[in-house]
């Protein structure tokens, strides 16, 4: 670490902001790579008040690890498996891979197809459609092409070809996933899994779970399905969810998208690039309610206003009737607050993107006294399932969309890995604030940690200061070379400690850029340290470089760091 720091200092011309070396070489600079979890506002590794004690593992995990290299381990005494995972989505897959690596004999139960929502009906096929829409958008943007000196005449697309690309990608990724499980020797058990009792799982055809297996630990990873509010009639043709939309069976001339979260936003990007006109219906008062307000505002300016998109905010779609008998799709809107009828839309199609509901029915949760909350399985911060009376259920975990903590594929996978770590005796609490999220519009939006209002609220409660730094893609050479100067990166941090609270990016390749920030948060890297890291020139990563450098950290101010040396 010292070496890496001195490297940056040995190049004074490249880093003219460096003051004479001694001040920088204070020990605090060692935080550069330090795992300072407490810096992130995490709980101590083992909460003092915890009543539950993790059972000491029967075997030495380190020895098992060696065995793992040669394949799936052998089960603990008296059990068919060390670990059974119900659901072979991205969460279950991530958990299974890590479990095998840790030497656990692992089985995964899948009632549908391997890959779950993400691979088959979510992130993966949508990325294929978005790849197409991004290119279409570029080719259609005459102004942009002209500025680059390019001439393209009348770009078009073949709908079936686009749909095939999405479908092919999904099956390719599904095969990759299946093969990686098979190669490691994970048993893939086909059927619907049900919890039969403590450390017992049944599986088989729906309603006939005829095979019972025992496992030392069980992970529920059953994911979610599209949520369709009452009053909306889904026919799969003119009124549909993302499940159908990803098949791209047709491109409506005018489509209403109910919900302006990241699913709705991505589909608006796809449909508007393929020639549809889009109307958003959002229940909250502003579009993109989950995003940092400033990013949301910019996103509206970049992704909504210039496109063939309009919107109704503060309204519920009370009733949606599919097109039939020559009539269009009818959407009855009511005011979200007063419930007064507001308007009726007549469109060619409606996409319901109002979020996702956990898929936890038929899991037999009642067998072990679990009461779901709106369908979600209640868990603690270690993904251990909590029963109706508030007690932890031993050996049962729930990860991913089914627990609702953070409904993202990679969050599910991270939770699975965290659970496997615990099973192996190494306590682990996943810091959800370090998990990035991305919306793959053109340009992309990405975020990690808190939004500015969240950070300010926390700051008020805990009595610390919050600062915000921003940089624009307009100042980035690579972005300008691509003629994609539209974009903003925003850093929310504590000026007293330099702790990174959140980073939000809207701009070209934002989804790839966010990881420098999410890694910094996960590893506890402070702004004053990461600003010395070097970025290749000219790259988009310099947007973040500049962002960190523009942050003003005064580590002398905070009373908590009074005794610490000051990096100036």
């Amino acid at each position: 670490m010292q070496a890496s720091l001195s490297l940056s200092l040995s190049l004074p011309p490249a880093a003219p902001r460096s003051d004479p070396a001694p001040t920088v070489f204070r020990p605090s600079a060692l935080r550069f790579c330090g795992l300072r979890r407490e810096a992130l506002g995490l709980r101590p590794l083992r909460p003092a008040g915890s009543t539950w004690v993790f059972p000491s593992p029967a075997r030495t995990p380190s020895r098992k690890t060696v065995a793992a290299v040669s394949g799936n381990g052998s089960p603990s005494k008296g059990f068919d498996y060390d670990l059974v995972i119900i659901g072979a989505g991205v969460g279950g897959h991530g958990a299974a891979l890590h479990a095998v690596e840790k030497g656990l004999k692992t089985a995964i139960i899948e009632g549908d197809i391997v890959g779950g929502t993400c691979v088959n009906r979510g992130c993966v096929p949508s990325k294929a459609l978005l790849a197409v829409s991004g290119r279409m958008r570029e080719l259609q943007n005459e102004h942009h092409l002209k500025a680059l000196g390019l001439q393209v005449s009348s770009p078009g697309y073949d709908r079936q070809g686009v749909a095939d690309h999405a479908n092919n990608l999904a099956s390719k990724i599904r095969n990759n996933l299946t093969n990686s499980l098979k190669a490691l020797g994970v048993d893939i058990l086909t059927g619907v899994g049900t919890i039969a009792g403590t450390q017992k799982v049944k599986y088989g055809k729906v309603g006939f779970p005829d095979t019972e297996i025992t496992a030392k630990d069980i992970i529920i990873a059953t994911g979610s399905v599209p949520f369709v509010p009452n009053g909306i009639e889904v026919d799969g043709k003119t009124v549909f969810t993302s499940d159908h939309a990803l098949k791209l069976e047709w491109v409506p001339e005018w489509i209403a998208i109910v919900g302006s979260g990241y699913i709705g936003l991505e589909f608006s990007d796809v449909y508007s690039a393929l020639g549809s006109e889009v109307t958003f219906v959002e229940a909250l008062d502003q579009l993109m309610p989950g995003f940092d307000p400033e990013i949301g505002k910019l996103a509206q300016r970049v992704l909504i206003n210039p496109r063939k998109i309009d919107y109704h905010t503060g309204v519920f779609a009370k009733k949606i009737t599919p097109a039939k008998d020559g009539k269009p799709v009818l959407i009855e809107l009511i005011d979200a607050k007063t419930k007064e009828p507001k308007d009726t839309l007549e469109v060619d199609a409606a996409l319901i993107a109002t979020g996702r509901a956990p898929f936890t029915k038929g899991l037999g949760l009642e067998n072990i006294n679990i009461v779901t909350q709106r369908g979600f399985v209640p868990v603690n911060e270690r993904m251990q399932v909590i029963d109706a009376s508030g007690n932890l259920i031993p050996h049962l975990y729930c990860i991913g969309d089914a627990n609702g903590k953070m409904m993202l594929a990679h969050a599910a996978s991270a939770q699975g890995i965290s659970v496997v770590e615990q099973i192996g005796g190494r306590d682990n609490v996943l810091n959800h604030l370090s998990i990035p999220a991305a919306c793959f519009t053109h340009p992309e939006i990405s975020m990690v940690g808190m939004t500015e209002p969240q950070a300010r609220e926390k700051a008020q409660q805990e009595g610390f200061e919050v600062s915000v730094a921003k940089t624009s893609f307009k100042a980035n050479t690579k972005a300008l070379a691509e003629n994609e100067g539209e974009g903003l990166a925003k850093l929310i941090y504590r000026p007293d400690t330099g702790e990174i609270l959140g980073v939000h990016i809207l701009g070209m390749h934002a989804a790839d850029l966010i990881h420098e920030a999410s890694n910094a948060i996960a590893l506890g890297t402070r702004v004053q340290d990461i600003k010395f890291a070097v970025h290749a020139h000219p790259t988009l990563s310099e947007v973040l470089d500049e962002l960190f450098k523009s942050a003003k950290v005064n580590t002398g101010v905070s009373p908590s760091s009074v005794n610490e040396p000051v990096t100036v």
Partner: protein
């Protein structure tokens, strides 16, 4: 490198020239420049578009950090402005209330022009609003969110008298919008719903087209972008050559102002109107059309025209009237095919007449041409042409035609063939009336004035025999035109 910088601007709020005064003072100036007479108690300042760089001539409002009615403290960021280089937060140098936003988000304003008004006290907000409403046309009715109820009604002709009412009726709170928001909803009014696609709405706003007056051609009669473009083109362009037919000299006399010289070797993109024409023309290819021609003797018509010309009757009106009367007897030729499955029999006979205008063409419509007498029809035609010149044609005055006439006779063209406008069943191309040597009925050689007409029709609904019968009727009417003046 920081491209999002906070800039303090010394110039944006210039108190003295920009200060508005109270109403009473305005009276004294005779309403010419009411804002010039200073009064210290009521201070309303203009917020100007700042010059954020030496090269900046105009700026785009990225976003308003504050809403109308918000209290502003000195040094607070009010608006984000996009210059040629970067986005900048612009701060206020004065305490007060953001009374009226004059340039909406996304709009562009020249450096130094007023973009908002700042009131010193809450009481002055309505005053500032009415000031903004009367001084800025752009801020009125820019969308449901931008409702400024009280000020709007108070603003226009006699602001001095209505202002006190506005003051007293407005709630003490600075938030006025709810008053108007409740009644602003289009769907709830009179059951007359306007269905327009998102892009059509955007275009309508950009091109300043009133959606209520646009006829929709999309599925279920919804208004699509094309309809708005056509409507905009019609109002935007002035007619070039509207001279009565058959008078070459006349038309050249009415030549439009010379358009900018064409630069050879360049590619010039279509104007909105030309784009709309292009789209329509391509669309017409999906209609199976055919043509039937007829030669009509016009001696009688020419005589009639000479007789009633002094009463303001034009040849265009005569031709339209004759056509309408023929259509009356052949409703099939006045029909159209909308969906490929059915006949749409139009209830009225509306004759659209193509008129060339600078860089395009437009088709003013003589409505109910069969029912209106020839004199009224001629007056109507003159009115339409005047309106078209003044760019004031309403959409129903150019897009409700059921049958189209196109006349190139005044250029000496003896015959041509027209393309069928989408949505109609037939169009008639009228050539010049020329003296022709003909064999008369009694077997002699004679000279008669004849013109050729050529009808293009949609064969899905109009068949050859229909057109033939229609043309026969038309020829009869024109060759014995006394019915035209009845």
């Amino acid at each position: 490198m920081a491209s999002l910088a906070n800039v303090h601007l010394g110039t944006p709020f210039l108190p003295s020239p920009a200060s508005l005064r109270g109403r009473s003072a305005a009276c004294g100036v005779g309403g010419v420049a009411p804002r010039r007479a200073p009064r210290i108690q009521a201070k309303i300042r203009e917020i100007f578009m700042p010059a954020l760089s030496s090269t900046m001539t105009e700026g785009k409002i990225v976003s308003w950090a504050k809403a109308e009615g918000d209290k502003l403290a000195k040094g607070e960021s009010v608006v984000v402005v996009e210059s040629d280089k970067a986005d900048m937060d612009v701060e206020t140098f004065y305490d007060g209330y953001l009374a009226a936003i004059m340039v909406e988000e996304g709009a562009v304003a020249a450096v130094g022009s007023a973009i908002a008004l700042l009131a010193e006290t809450e009481d002055e907000i309505p005053l500032a609003k009415s000031q903004a409403a009367s001084s800025s046309a752009t801020m009125a009715s820019d969308g449901p969110a931008a409702s400024r109820p009280v000020a709007d009604t108070a603003a226009p002709p006699s602001p001095l008298e209505t202002a006190p009412e506005a003051l007293s009726s407005s709630p003490p709170s600075s938030n006025f919008s709810p008053v108007a928001a409740s009644s602003a909803h289009p769907a709830s009014e009179g059951g007359q719903r306007t269905i327009a696609t998102p892009y059509a709405k955007k275009l309508a706003k950009d091109l300043k087209v009133e959606l209520g007056s646009v006829a929709g051609s999309g599925p279920m009669g919804r208004i699509v972008a094309k309809d708005v473009e056509v409507a905009a083109a019609a109002t935007a362009a002035a007619p070039v050559s509207t001279a009565p037919p058959k008078s070459v000299s006349n038309s050249s006399a009415v030549k439009a102002p010379a358009s900018p010289a064409i630069q050879l070797g360049t590619v010039v993109p279509f104007t909105t109107m030309q784009g709309a024409v292009s789209k329509n023309m391509v669309e017409s290819l999906s209609v199976p059309t055919f043509r039937v021609g007829y030669t009509i003797t016009t001696n009688a018509l020419d005589d009639l025209y000479k007789k009633i010309k002094s009463k303001g009757v034009t040849m265009t009106a005569l031709l339209a009237k004759a056509t309408a009367m023929a259509l009356m007897k052949h409703p099939i030729v006045n029909s159209s095919c909308r969906d490929g499955k059915s006949f749409t029999y139009n209830s009225s006979i509306n004759i659209a007449v193509a008129v060339a205008i600078d860089g395009g063409l437009i088709t003013p419509v003589l409505q109910d041409a069969d029912k209106v007498d020839i004199y009224s029809l001629s007056r109507k035609w003159k009115e339409l042409v005047d309106k078209a010149r003044a760019k004031q044609l309403q959409s129903h005055e150019y897009n409700t035609g059921t049958f189209t006439l196109s006349n190139l006779g005044m250029f000496g063209v003896d015959r041509f063939d027209a393309i069928l406008p989408p949505g109609t069943g037939a169009i008639m191309a009228v050539g010049a009336s020329q003296s022709t040597v003909v064999a008369t009925k009694d077997g002699r050689i004679g000279v008669k004035s004849q013109m050729q007409v050529n009808v293009t029709a949609d064969h899905r609904v109009i068949y050859g025999a229909d057109l033939a019968a229609f043309l026969q009727t038309l020829a009869k009417i024109i060759e014995d035109p006394k019915e035209l003046t009845l």
